[in-house]
């Protein structure tokens, strides 16, 4: 397979096209070409060529009567094909549903994706009527509980590198030094919790809706021990949060090794158990 200049140009073009799609962050909010230029850092001409391509292909649509774009139906069948065929999810979902029903919470499995956590699995207690997040949703890695648990589970030097990148991104978004300091302390608190109790948790606060309760653990998935994180969430008034934590924390700690054991023999990336070190 030649990797000449033409194929690397092609790859760059593909990367940019998908970058424009990703700029919507899997949300239905409409965005303009100008916003997309700002988010992706690509030129105006490139973005407008890519948006019209993505419209033509059914991945974006024009918002009626405006100059903005919205995600269209194209990503649906690709995402669905992944969810339905993935071996990890086939085995993880019944386990997650049982945990969700037993604890009356939502249970999410997320993988790191750039500086975000991408929900790859999500199950919600049958007793909870409203669904707040779902598979394919993205949360910032640096400010969500599931992201902090994931960071804690990463081997060094990955963890330090991701933290540094997250800090740069926060600064680039205009976070003041005081806010960065506060963020750093929150990360440290979460890591302290993870070191001492094995979980990190939050009620409300950054990256959370008001009254939302979240508690997370890092997990290693499959033969390759891929880092991911598992979290339980629910909507609770602050007065009840402590009760919920007391109930959910031991159950999640117990679920973690069972979850890892359940998935331990799955060949996540197709390279086999020892292939990574041999073929690298």
């Amino acid at each position: 397979m030649s990797a000449g200049p033409s194929s690397s140009n092609t790859l760059l073009t593909v990367e940019r096209g998908l970058q424009v799609l990703r700029a919507f962050r899997a949300e239905s909010r409409a965005r303009s070409n100008a916003e997309l230029v700002q988010i992706t850092g690509l030129s105006k001409a490139t973005v407008s060529r890519l948006t019209s391509t993505l419209i033509e292909l059914g991945f974006l649509r024009r918002v009626p009567g405006g100059r903005q774009f919205q995600l269209s139906v194209g990503p649906l069948s690709i995402g669905h094909a992944f969810i339905e065929s993935d071996l990890v999810l086939a085995r993880a979902h019944p386990f997650m549903q049982e945990l969700a029903d037993r604890l009356n919470v939502s249970v999410a499995l997320a993988a790191g994706d750039g500086l975000d956590m991408l929900y790859v699995g999500y199950r919600i207690s049958r007793r909870i009527a409203t669904l707040r997040m779902g598979v394919g949703s993205m949360l910032p890695m640096a400010t969500s509980m599931i992201g902090r648990a994931y960071l804690w589970g990463l081997p060094e030097p990955d963890r330090t590198a991701r933290l540094a990148a997250a800090r740069r991104a926060l600064a680039a978004q205009g976070a003041k030094p005081a806010a960065l300091e506060a963020w750093q302390r929150e990360i440290q608190d979460a890591f302290d919790d993870l070191a001492t109790r094995g979980v990190c948790f939050a009620t409300g606060g950054p990256g959370f809706q008001r009254d939302a309760f979240g508690i997370a653990v890092p997990v290693r998935v499959g033969l390759q021990e891929v880092s991911m994180a598992l979290s339980c969430g629910s909507v609770e008034p602050p007065s009840r949060a402590e009760d919920v934590r007391r109930r959910v924390e031991p159950a999640l700690l117990k679920a973690r090794p069972a979850f890892e054991a359940l998935l331990a023999d799955i060949d996540v990336d197709g390279k086999g158990a020892v292939a990574l070190s041999h073929r690298a």
Binding site: L11, S52, V73, S77, E84, S85
Partner: protein, 272 residues
Amino acid sequence: MSARPAPSPASARPRAGMVRRSIVEPVARALALLGAFRPNDCWLTNRDLSLRTGLPPSTVSRQTHGLVELGYLRHAPSERKYALAASVLSLGYAAIAHTQVQQLSRVRMQALAQTHQVHVVLCTRERMDLLIVECETSPSASIPQALHVGARLELGASPTGWAMLAALPEVERYYLLEKVERRAAKDWPRLRRRISEAMSQVMEFGYCTSLGEWDPELSLVASPLMVPGYAPLAIACIGASTYMSSARVRRELGPQLVGMTLAIQEEAGAIS
């Protein structure tokens, strides 16, 4: 239901009558490859992908290599096979898969599927296709292969499409029917008769039926679902013809399907 095996919304082959304006081809090819994977087929070879997309093998192998590098495909080197990676979910899946109306529909569709031993699908329109966005199957009825989320049906040839057409504003309906006519060619006189029958059924009863029409074993009843602020939708129940006699559809299934669409409209209206 005349499903056709269009694996990809971004099929590399231009559709008949569709002019591909200035398309950025590498992006189109990459999305066609990602779209070539179907539920239940984890690993595919470059050859499978070439057959499904119509792209030459050299293009496919260059693209799959690149998509592995970007993290959207996984590669099993020993078997020379590729599978979708979790990152494909970051391309917008959540925005389409979890709309409020779909969430409201899902529970009711489930109940209907269980009560009546039928499969229930929620469809939206994309160009001249109907796309299944929710699919509740009944364990006690056999499942036609083309019934899954992401599957496409031809708008003009499917009773579910006719139900949707009946509820569209006149201008939009005429525009779409003209396109259906052009595609149908010789088949148009028959199709036109069926479409107007279905539309008058929808006007009178709120649903239209197709009982054993394309397959004597299978029958269908469909109803439009129009929610302010959303693209037009349609819901269809598909089941064994033996369970779906015209009397039973008229007495039970039809009215219950219409009742369900009204309840979804009302609840969605109350939220927004």
